[in-house]
Symmetry: C2
Subunit: 105 residues, 2 copies
DNA sequence: ACGCACCGTAAGCATAGACTAACTCAAGCC
DNA sequence: GGCTTGAGTTAGTCTATGCTTACGGTGCGT
């Protein structure tokens, strides 16, 4: 919680976004993630750390492996951001239409 | 709609996200954007090029300046991505709940 | 025509960060 | 107790890229 505004930065990396999309389908251990990607397992671990710090994923130790899954709160925060952008953008458009003082379009 | 899957990469940079959020409020020329940010005007131009290539902003020349604004299509594509993530995540959770006792494999 | 304001592009640099290799640690199994 | 498997950490390298400076181009006003 708190202030992980860097969720966007975290998903900005293509590999991390790929990891995130894999976890969207279903939770997976680290090794399985690495098997689906063209990078080494330590690289996946580092990316998972970033995603976790950004509040986007959670992990749970199961025996000798760690199962990673999507953190719904982080995903919800992203959705909230986009909804805000969407609303503001529409408002700006409406305002532009209601001020026909310039000729455009 | 081509293949602007790099919209996430584009918004991954903090400066570009700041530019995007400024444009969410209202369309602005390049110089005004640069005035609100701690980077030079050419840097803003380069960021705007990336955002435009990602389909996130549009520009329109007005006299000697270019007015940049949010491209609703790009924003909508991002929203669609997140809705898909959200749906899949919920489905994965539901599936996990409906398979409570997984004896072994 | 001249100058100015606004903007995009090129070149060059410097820092961030993504990646691998090697190591350490923990858990389960023989 | 050893061996194996799975994973996080560290050190170090190297590429991508964000930034600035300098330049070229365009539109508008005088």
């Amino acid at each position: 919680m708190t202030y992980q505004s860097d969720a966007w930065t975290a998903l900005g990396d293509p590999t991390r976004k790929a990891i995130f999309e894999l976890l969207v389908d279903r939770p997976r251990p680290v090794g399985e993630l690495a098997g689906e990607l063209p990078v080494s397992r330590p690289a996946v671990s580092q990316h998972l750390k970033v995603l976790k710090d950004a509040g986007l994923v959670m992990d749970q130790p199961v025996g000798t492996r760690r199962i990673y899954r999507i953190n719904p709160d982080g995903l919800a925060a992203l959705r909230a951001d986009l909804e805000r952008f969407w609303g503001k953008t529409l408002a700006a458009y409406k305002e532009a239409v209601e001020q026909p003082t310039r000729e455009d379009e």
